[in-house]
Symmetry: C2
Subunit: 357 residues, 2 copies
């Protein structure tokens, strides 16, 4: 039976943009929808004779049929998708996370959808979508811009959504938490700078953490910076703290401005690796020697730290970033019937001196 022999109604429908359903395939193949379902899902192994199977497959191919995902999800009570929630893309560490999670999803036969949450508004919307079961599980990734409230995550988990949060603040209540002890490692780096004689240390920060007092208190990086100054009996010079200097261009401009000043800093502590790299360039462009004239330290362990001159000293995971563990936690939750106990993992963060400080 070919398309030409179809009743009129089908031809009409094919024109009207309506998509084919399993019923259409069944009709064309001369079988019932159940059989179509069996064949499409490869169920019932050999219980369907290959002639029938072929007939169905051919009918499906002819119509360009593919099962409707919404209907499937509704019926199966799962979407076979997991969701990665990040607050911005283009940050190298996020890219790595996406790659690792993607690999795990592929292996489990799951899809990965990424939601970029750049504002509180979109954060709320994303929480909502997660409640609506747009995915079978989610990784909530580190947030410099937006922070998710613990209670929202708890509620999500209570609703049965497998969840892994990468966060240093929220407690693991019904979900897993992966932490990175940034504060101590940043403190080590600051100690290093201070014990090697640096007294005017500038801070290149993210957006909100510098001016929003509440955020500043919570941000481990600027928190460690401020605490270290205090610990060593130094006053903080607010003019050395720059807001929104976490990307490459802003970082370069901020560093260049700082280094042009007569009372220029003798060290720069950058909250991102990208701005630290830019600071290295700004210093070199200003004719300064690193680390003698100005020392530079960044946060985050990018491969790029090894192609700067001198190599960039950073605070971060001891080796390269790796999120296979996070992915494992998520899929353990997603794939098992009974949810595992809440887990709390702390990944190492250390100060890695490489030459720029």
């Amino acid at each position: 039976m070919t398309l030409d022999t179809l009743p009129y109604v089908y031809k009409r429908l094919s024109m009207s943009g309506r998509r084919w359903t399993s019923r259409d395939v069944a009709a064309l193949a001369g079988v019932s929808v159940a059989t179509v379902s069996y064949v499409m899902n490869g169920r019932m192994g050999d219980r369907i004779p290959s002639t029938t199977r072929e007939r169905v497959l051919s009918a499906a191919r002819q119509l360009g049929y593919s099962p409707n995902r919404s209907a499937q999800s509704l019926r199966r009570q799962k979407t076979e998708q997991v969701c990665l929630v990040v607050d911005s893309i283009g940050v190298p560490v996020i890219d790595q996370l996406a790659r690792d999670l993607h690999a795990a999803a592929d292996e489990a036969g799951y899809g990965l959808i990424t939601m970029v949450v750049g504002s509180a508004e979109r954060a709320a919307k994303t929480i909502d979508l997660l409640h609506q079961r747009i995915a079978d599980g989610a990784v909530i990734a580190p947030s410099n811009v937006t922070r998710f409230r613990e209670e929202d995550l708890v509620e999500l988990a209570r609703g049965g959504l497998p969840l892994v949060a990468m966060d240093n603040v929220v407690r693991p209540i019904g979900f897993d938490v992966v932490r990175a002890p940034e504060r101590d490692a940043c403190g080590d780096a600051m100690d290093h700078l201070l014990t090697t004689g640096h007294r005017r240390i500038a801070f290149l920060g993210h957006h909100e953490e510098v001016n929003d007092l509440d955020a500043r208190a919570k941000s481990e990086r600027i928190g460690a910076y401020l605490a270290a100054l205090q610990r060593h009996g130094l006053e903080t010079d607010e003019s050395l703290i720059v807001e929104g200097a976490d990307d490459r261009v802003a970082g370069y401009r901020a560093a260049a401005d700082l280094l042009r000043r007569p009372d220029r800093p003798d060290a720069i502590f950058a909250a991102s690796a990208r701005s630290a790299i830019s600071a290295v360039w700004a210093a070199r462009d200003a004719g300064l020697t690193i680390p003698d004239d100005v020392a530079v330290v960044g946060c985050g362990n990018l491969p790029e730290t090894e192609i700067t001159r001198p190599p960039l000293s950073t605070v971060g995971p001891p080796t390269t970033e790796d999120f296979t563990e996070v992915s494992r936690l998520l899929f353990e939750r997603v794939l098992t019937k009974e949810p595992p106990p809440e887990r709390e993992i702390t990944n190492p963060w250390v100060f890695v001196p490489r030459g720029s400080a």
Copy 2:
């Protein structure tokens, strides 16, 4: 009526991880599911008395109810999500695209899901998901790694999926196409290099385009490079063509290697802006002067081009990258009943000399 007064069955269900449905809310509020639906969707404006509305809302809040997205999508025949298909994240131009599309989606009340397609396998899977109507429309973004076949896009569009493809090859058959005439602009840049006396021009390329002959023929950037050499009567020196040198680290290493050679190139044409920036660094680290010792040109107009020394000459859109047009095209298709005619837009690409060449 509070949770305490619920029949036993409900309490049990609340423990078993089953999620509440509109029926549960209706029961708790003492109304019908229709009313719940009306209230939840804000339909029937004032036709629902506020007392009833409040009762429903309160019941929903009490149960932590939110409508099941799969059921909603199935019933409404739309997901209210659009999909951005990219081949990798972490590429600045993609980030901008995501931002612009996100803005448009927000405005239309749509969600944006991003699918990262790093391999042919995942490309096939993504096409499949699109067929399964995981979204109401999609933007297929420029692909250095994976290229989508025209026939796949055509089939998708024939199925009624609003589609915008950013591609220089596929024809707009049932969908819109946005092009960037990279070839001519790259040719201009090469002409500039060649007419200013450069004879040994290296090429830093993406992965496949260098070694896969078919891909090389299709890639506009290396194509323009090769054509320009030929046009000016120069032989191509394969040892000056480097594969997989499109990211920052690989670009740096490749450029450093090239510049260390006794027969080092007198110019570097990079297929990405990131590798061009790395090439600038490599040249400076090698003690070479740009553009006198070695000229550098990149592809793609990043803000960063203006913080290199000297500023990076690039091939790309005349101003900064902007994808509001792409977003507009998509949502015009998504939001209108009758699909607009196929549109084919060509965005300008030019050679912008800035100092490095």
